[in-house]
């Protein structure tokens, strides 16, 4: 708030308060002659106002509100830029409440932090806490059911681009991940080359496709160029969690498994970004969240 508006507000507020007080006491008495009259002289639609005294405690209530206002304006922010004697702010209040909850839950989280993730997943109450953390921090991208969406990995299918060990999951959450699939359009020799390679890649997870004659032709044409892909995805296309290179043989498609989708991935590349949460969540919370997400992939193995 600029200095002008600050002063403007202070002057208005103070004038109003003082004005109310002056008006109240200036008008608190009447002449003996006025007191004699039966009505106040106010008449609306034939209804007249009787001249009856008001109860004294109303006056004190009014004085009470004036005193309250003065005390409030001295203690809390209200007069322009003046911060108030208590130095109260809404963000400070919020921080206080967050700190309070953190203090309350700290012993619990500290207790959880001592238990390795592999063991933590056995405790339902920990997973419930993890589920709430997940809903607040992860569900907007990965979905309430954790089954992901286009561009956002499914966390329940046991397919892990960056590794599915508790440690790998923890790093994914706290530091985030950046995946970079280069655009191979120019290197694949035009649109036909791209589509050939798309069929080749699709057939890695669905070998039955190679039995179709037209597809077999495309695969044959694309095969020599697949050497370019092996640098990251490996000779057999099984991927490499070191660079977040996905397994191309498992039938899981982060950006869609139709030929058009794969062709687009090849042509333009893909750039996945999982933001790091170390600054948003405490290590203990990330520990519990890791356990929850680790448990999601375990469930699917059980089924």
């Amino acid at each position: 708030m600029s200095q002008f508006w600050s002063v403007y507000i202070i002057v208005l507020v103070v004038l109003n308060l003082v004005g109310c007080a002056v008006l109240l006491f200036w008008n608190s008495r009447m002449s003996a002659e006025e007191a004699q009259r039966e009505t106040t002289g106010h008449s609306f639609d034939g209804i007249e106002e009787l001249n009856k005294p008001l109860p004294r405690w109303w006056l004190w209530l009014f004085v009470g509100t004036l005193l309250f206002s003065a005390a409030y304006l001295a203690l809390y922010p209200g007069l322009g830029n003046y911060a108030g004697m208590l130095g109260w702010t809404s963000s400070g209040q919020w921080q206080k409440e967050v700190d309070f909850v953190d203090r309350q839950t700290a012993p619990l989280f500290a207790e959880y932090a001592k238990v390795p993730v592999e063991e933590l997943v056995q405790y339902d109450e920990v997973l419930e806490v993890g589920a709430r953390l997940y809903m607040q921090n992860c569900a907007m991208c990965h979905g309430a059911d954790a089954r992901g969406a286009r561009g956002y990995p499914n966390l329940t299918d046991g397919a892990w681009q960056w590794g599915g060990s508790p440690e790998a999951i923890r790093v994914s959450i706290s530091e985030g991940r950046r995946a970079n699939m280069m655009a191979f359009g120019p290197m694949l020799g035009g649109e036909d080359g791209i589509v050939d390679m798309a069929w080749y890649v699709a057939a890695l997870s669905r070998p039955e496709l190679a039995e179709r004659d037209d597809v077999a032709e495309r695969i044959e044409r694309a095969a020599p160029r697949f050497a370019m892909c092996t640098a990251c995805h490996g000779a057999e296309g099984r991927g490499n969690p070191q660079f977040g290179a996905p397994d191309l043989t498992d039938g899981n498609w982060l950006y869609g498994g139709r030929i058009e989708d794969i062709a687009q991935t090849l042509r333009d590349g893909r750039f996945g970004h999982m933001p790091g949460h170390a600054g948003l969540l405490s290590p203990e919370r990330i520990h519990v969240l890791t356990a929850y997400i680790y448990s999601l992939s375990l469930q699917d193995e059980d089924d």
């Binding site: 009447m30 006025e34 907007m140």
Partner: protein, 456 residues
């Protein structure tokens, strides 16, 4: 300041009203009603039901237990039905008999009456109290005043702690109050209601009725000339003549003893006619009836009557306005009873995932995901089944369909629905999740939502 001296304050100091104690049939009736009111208030929180406090408004858990029923915030529509029902009860009572509520069961009346009794006990009746007000401070005055305020504070504290006892289990509350281990908010609310009771019933009394209570102000909209009011029969009483002996042959029955004024808790003279201060406590009726008995005149110089009856007009108590209110009251009672009887203590809310309209799963299925919030609002553990009304081909892909929920529990279930676009074509469509109790055919709840499919 010299100018001020001649000017009169616009605000009037409250003159303490010391109503004289009076006995009679209406006061006996009021004794019963105020004891019932106070007794119900003090004892209700101590009742238990199924090992739990029968009436407990558990704010942190947002569950409101009233005997065998637990209400949730989603049931607040029932509270509005109840409030409307109570409003109509008040209308019926007011049209029929004026401010009977004020005189017989209003908490302000009840607590004021108990506080006045304490005053009577410690300081004596009206005259003694007036003398004590004027008397200089002495050992006697200090003792009487002190014990009065002590007893007032005791009753006020009992009221305050009982009030909080409706919101937190009262047995542990009272115990913790004794060992001085109350929580901060418990102390604040007990203190608030204690102080408010002490001020209201000890100091403000009729000021609440006259200056604060909205009901006193809008009651005139419900009064008519056939409403029962407490009234002085002017034609019989006037001209009044002081003293028992009737010197003037024309003199009416009123002997101007002023007892009706002295017993009035709001300090009015009923002989001035109907006044908005009158709370129809009928103290003046009892006082006057006692006097009439003494001077061997018929009772009822001050009585419950109507304005029409006073003026010799025919007066009908049963009239269209009253019957209309009675019909409305009946309808409201049926509505409330009906909605209570058919209430299904289960809840289901459906929240569609916000991030996306639909997604293609890795096996090619088109999927939508939802969060179902399932609530068991009853006091029994329930086995629940979640069903789906949707076009054929839409499959339940993920999420539990059977669950056991403890009393008062709620759970969020992620659910995924999907269809195989290679098998069939599906448009965006309305769907319905249903929630059923396996062992209770009547307990069914449903919630609409949508399944969104890609357009092609």
């Amino acid at each position: 300041m010299s100018d001020d001296a001649r000017r009169i304050p616009l605000y009037q100091k409250r003159e303490a009203i010391h109503p004289r104690a009076v006995s009679g049939r209406f006061q006996r009736l009021r004794d019963i009603t105020v004891w019932l009111t106070l007794g119900a208030y003090l004892l209700l929180p101590w009742l238990s039901w199924d090992g739990r406090q029968a009436i407990l408004f558990d704010l942190p858990a947002r569950q409101f237990h009233v005997f065998g029923i637990t209400f949730w915030p989603q049931d607040f529509i029932l509270l509005s039905w109840l409030l409307i029902l109570l409003a109509f009860m008040l209308f019926v009572a007011t049209v029929f008999a004026g401010r009977v509520y004020c005189g017989y069961v209003c908490p302000q009346t009840t607590w004021t009456r108990f506080f006045t009794w304490i005053e009577h006990l410690t300081e004596g009746d009206r005259n003694a109290r007036q003398r004590l007000d004027k008397a200089p401070w002495s050992r006697n005055k200090l003792l009487r005043r002190g014990s009065k305020h002590l007893l007032w504070w005791a009753l006020a504290s009992l009221t305050g702690i009982t009030f909080v006892g409706y919101f937190t289990p009262i047995d542990s509350l009272v115990w913790r109050a004794f060992v001085w281990q109350l929580g901060q908010w418990e102390i604040i609310w007990i203190a608030f209601f204690t102080i408010a009771t002490y001020l209201n019933a000890g100091w403000l009394r009729e000021q609440v009725c006259i200056y604060m209570c909205p009901y006193a102000r809008f009651q005139s909209a419900m009064f008519d000339r056939d409403t029962l009011i407490v009234s002085y029969d002017e034609s019989r009483g006037e001209p009044r003549e002081r003293g028992k002996r009737r010197r003037d042959e024309q003199a009416g029955d009123c002997i101007d003893c002023e007892l009706c004024v002295q017993v009035c808790p709001t300090g009015i003279d009923i002989r001035d006619g109907l006044q908005y201060e009158c709370i129809t406590c009928a103290a003046c009726i009892d006082a006057c009836d006692n006097v009439m008995d003494q001077i061997s005149r018929p009772r009822g110089l001050i009585r419950y009557t109507t304005e029409n009856a006073l003026q010799g007009q025919p007066s009908r108590l049963l009239r269209p306005r009253l019957l209309g209110y009675l019909v409305l009251l009946g309808v409201m009672t049926l509505l409330l009873a009906g909605s209570l009887a058919t209430r299904v203590p289960l809840g289901i809310d459906v929240i569609r995932d916000r991030g996306q309209l639909y997604r293609m799963a890795s096996d090619g299925f088109i999927e939508n995901s939802y969060q179902l919030r399932i609530m068991n609002r009853s006091q029994q553990t329930r086995t629940l089944v979640i069903g789906l009304d949707a076009p054929a081909g839409l499959q339940w892909r993920y999420g539990e369909q059977h669950l056991v929920l403890e009393p008062g529990a709620s759970r969020i279930l992620p659910v995924t629905l999907g269809y195989d676009p290679y098998q069939q074509h599906l448009n965006s469509t309305a769907i319905r999740f249903t929630l059923e109790d396996e062992s209770h055919a009547r307990y069914v709840r449903a919630r609409e939502s949508r399944f969104i499919a890609p357009r092609d």
